[in-house]
Symmetry: D2
């Protein structure tokens, strides 16, 4: 109800503030008997971690995940898996000057008006630090999906006006991590890096787009009517800080197309019914059709600028603020594992929800 | 769990198939003491109704709503409000030839694979006819929101490649209904109508975009972290048949912008803290900030074409199909009240969820 | 949230007032492919129906169930099963004198204070007529449980101070329906009938106990920690009008026992691990252990008396009231199918919830 | 879904095994602005703590509660309140001999069959140690209820066959803590203590009953139809380990009574409508009527005996076991704060759920 929970069966509850003692989460509903793949966890956490390059915040959190329950001899037991990540490298004094100030583009104002009280240090609960917990749970979701052969991969497809090849099938998704901005289109990646350096020097920031591709999804995942697979994905993505848009398959472009152009024609190949094209993005009537699921997630530019911005304090008086703290010039490279994590949480939940659908 | 429910406190469950006895719904959690505005209901239902013009399906359903419970002396009582709409003008024989056929772009294939059984008549449960129930419940949500002064309005902003002025504040939202395609930009509307006639003559269909504007929203609606206001809107919109994309505020365009361009600067006006611009679309950190909420919803073209299409039957054998039945050339004009209804359901639910947020 | 829903996966929403147009319900989450056993439904509805004998209310409702959705060619389709029962033999004028009166033992006072508005006719939403919808859904649950071999049977074990043999294994549960009070202990049944006639003649009513036995439950149903099988049963039973107590296995008697007396010793029989005794009532640690589940449900006497009772009107002025309408002298014989229905709903839901518990 | 969550708005998720790193919980939905009363917390935790007297387990856990989030300057912030309690005095080797053994009366067998894997140390997740987390959350619920004047008090009313005065209004509820067994009936308490010493010497255990009284409850709490106040209480109580029965008001005795004996007659006193008697136990039609809520909770005897018991191992071979570890001779004295905690959780949740019930 209070919004800190995602999922119906595979259910994640997160907690914690950016500068509190710890952040963490509880995964309730992970089936018993899942072998924990700690390499997967470390890999995912490493990609979300601050301080990976000069383009990301230099907050240096090792983000070591401590598991408290639900695991016995390296397997899940069916009991809730609780984990915490201690906040170590917090510099709360960086935020003292913001105690009574509403930063543009942040949740300071809305949060304070909603609750009448606000932990201002580092953005408190509204900080993107919370997404570390999603990545932990997302890794568990991926382990579960892997048992069913489902693979979930995201990458940066656009930063500012620089776009990679829009056709993911033309990209080598195994090369994502070779790019410092996680764009598997080498030339585009180089341009993005060059541009980000310039923007950073100007004390500015920029937005971008993450594309996610999910392969080997069995037919039948997704619940009609309100909990369609694409509806759940949309919610999961918009629940990530700074996300302003989502589209799937032909997406916004579908608005411009004719039915004769956009329909995916069914055919039989190797005894299996498939579609010749995949404008649907792998989802028809809210249910997976066995084709690749692919979607785009649009992120706004980081709100904290290393240059002067006007704002007001809690009394409405004008103030000028400038980012101290440690912030990214562009969030999308580090958002890649977060998008993957949320996609995996959606799929894992719908996978389990699908089990009792028929006798 | 099974996906036929929307909302946590103001909760709608829908049921019914396109060619069954009736469709309907149950609204559980509508506060007691709400006066029913039957004019609002008729107005909303009238706009969704088939057969409004030559551009929409000619299925002639009066869509009379019969209330079974929860209303006493024209007020809600706190008990669940159940309603049904009988299916009268159904022509199930139009669908006999589709019993074993998977129509391109429809949910026939995925639904059958998920459940192992399918009511093929008129699309069964996956038919857009189900949205009539959303409109009924949405009208109740609007009545509730009206008590709080909240107003929710949608219109067609794009059909195919024809776009209205993208700045809704330049449009007269009181003139939406004067346009046969519900586009309040007169010249654009004329072009849209002309274009739709042509596409219809070709037996083809086309997609479009609906824009929705919600005004007078109090600060504080929306639940962090997963149930952000924009996340709930995204899910609600993607749960509508044929929707492929959602964005809010600067939306996908935000991906191209700099932080210095996209940040909304706070200021004080008439003793109230507001933002000078509204790239956020009225939502910051997932919570309403008191500015207008506006967002776009992209619809794919209608999948049923009045021309030949290839497909397969349930054995995978090739077949050629052609729409009989009665179908729209473009769904967005009739989607306008559905977008409004879903937006109202989201807002009403979050409005009630916000009440216990603080002492 | 508003309390008109039971279940997590096999989920029933009910609606309707005693003297409104209709009562009904929506079953969401019933697996597709379940063959409908209409005989089961008629049998269960017949046993709950008023007017079965001189000992029950003479309201003559045929209680014909009309299905609106979710069924195709006599099987469930995975879509929500909606049903309604029209209110035909209502005599609302019987209740005119109660418009502003709070009947002792009824929900008139609390309901009006909670909602500020009340449909007084026949008790409105708080009428036991609502339980007809539980019986419909319970029949579906029984059909599902039957696929797994689970059998659920209730009977009257006590009326007033007259008790049947407390050991259900000594009773012939196939003879329940031969008794007009549904007590399978012939001699006790005769005494009960005699007693009820006397109490009726005095214009009074009396309480009783229903015992329920569930057999062939597989090991593993029930969710620790809060949603234990016995906890869910307790809630389901207390949700029935007039129920004041629940116990399972040795129940309240367990409070008096020593550990050495009450522990069920494990042993192996025919290669299966079982318990020698069954003081647990088939549930250990909230999870079924494969033994019979049995529990007792205590009902208070019917509150409406055919003799004068003092009360107050809504202004607090003293009034004298006397039941008109048509009422039972003792509710437990007709409560038998309701207890069974709720037990079946609990089991069916936990059965489906158990499916994703392990890899 | 997986059962580790209680509540709809005021929602507690617990986690942790008896001999894992820590147990803990997350309270989501506690309103912002609640001042934390750490004395209340210490008081409640102290009463549940093992090692309080020679009659309870000597496991010596200080049970220090560490808060990780959701609190700022001693007030709740509206963000989830996460807390952990480290397991310090665990002696897992006490349980080595039980690795493959099913203890009578415990959840070993059912848990292992459900999940296929079991953390056997100290009962793992099924240990009553989990209830410490309920007590923490219950203290928060009590703080919230105190703002509304609601007071919740439990005591031991029966151990074995020794019963206190059944009329709680004849007891001094302020003297509960003066009794080593938490029975506020001095003479009865003395007998209970004497009896427990004897039973302990015999290596046996015994059951008992806890009675709970909730005062100053406003009219209107509780949701019809399925989420009745008494239904929620029943579930909450049966969710506590070792509970076998629940009744409210006249309870099981109501089954023996006539309507003319059991009905509570309304009257007006000091301008307020009240009932002359309170056989209802403060709940009518599932909704609080403003009178005291009182109910009984029956506990079975502790299953672990300090004497030989027969059982089987996981292959079904007979074994003889005898409790090592540290165990209570009777659980009810320490169950008192747990019953209070669960009652407070139920009331706090229904209190918040009641807010959006009417305009």
């Amino acid at each position: 109800m209070a919004g800190n929970v995602y999922g119906q069966i595979f259910r994640l509850t997160t907690f914690g503030e950016s500068h509190g003692k710890a952040i963490g989460g509880v995964i309730d509903g992970c089936p018993a008997g899942l072998k924990i793949d700690f390499d997967q966890l470390r890999y995912d956490m490493g990609r979300r971690r601050p301080g990976q390059s000069r383009l990301t915040t230099s907050r240096n959190e090792k983000d070591e995940v401590e598991f408290l329950s639900g695991i016995f001899e390296n397997s899940t037991t069916g009991a809730p898996v609780a984990f915490i990540i201690h906040n170590k490298d917090k510099k709360s004094s960086d935020y003292d000057h913001l105690k009574n100030t509403y930063r543009p583009g942040h949740a300071d104002f809305t949060w304070e008006k909603k609750y009448g009280i606000r932990d201002h240090r580092g953005g408190g609960r509204s900080s993107a630090r919370e997404t570390a917990c999603r990545v932990v749970a997302g890794s568990f979701a991926k382990m579960l999906l892997k048992e069913a052969g489902i693979d979930c991969r995201a990458y940066v497809s656009q930063i500012g006006e620089v776009e990679a090849n829009p056709d993911y099938s033309k990209l080598d998704l195994d090369s994502i991590e070779e790019s410092p901005v996680r764009c598997p289109d080498k030339d585009t990646s180089d341009v993005m890096v060059y541009m980000l350096d310039q923007i950073k020097n100007n004390g500015d920031t920029v937005g971008g787009i993450v594309t996610c591709v999910i392969r080997n999804v069995p037919v039948g995942l997704g619940e009609p009517v309100f909990d369609k697979l694409d509806a759940e994905l949309a919610k999961a993505m918009l629940s990530i800080n700074a996300v302003k848009g989502f589209d799937i398959g032909s997406g916004f472009k579908a608005a411009q197309l004719k039915g004769s152009e956009n329909n995916d024609i069914f055919t039989r190949r190797n005894g299996r019914i498939i579609t010749k094209t995949n404008f649907s993005g792998g989802v028809q009537g809210g249910i997976s059709n066995g084709q690749d699921i692919y979607f785009r997630v649009a992120f706004k530019p980081v709100s904290t600028l290393m240059s002067d911005q006007q704002s007001v304090d809690s009394s409405g008086n004008p103030v000028v603020i400038k980012g101290k703290g440690r912030h990214d010039v562009c969030v999308v490279p580090r958002a890649v594992p977060i998008v993957e994590a949320m996609a995996a949480l959606v799929l894992a939940d719908l996978f389990l929800r699908n089990q009792p659908a028929r006798l």
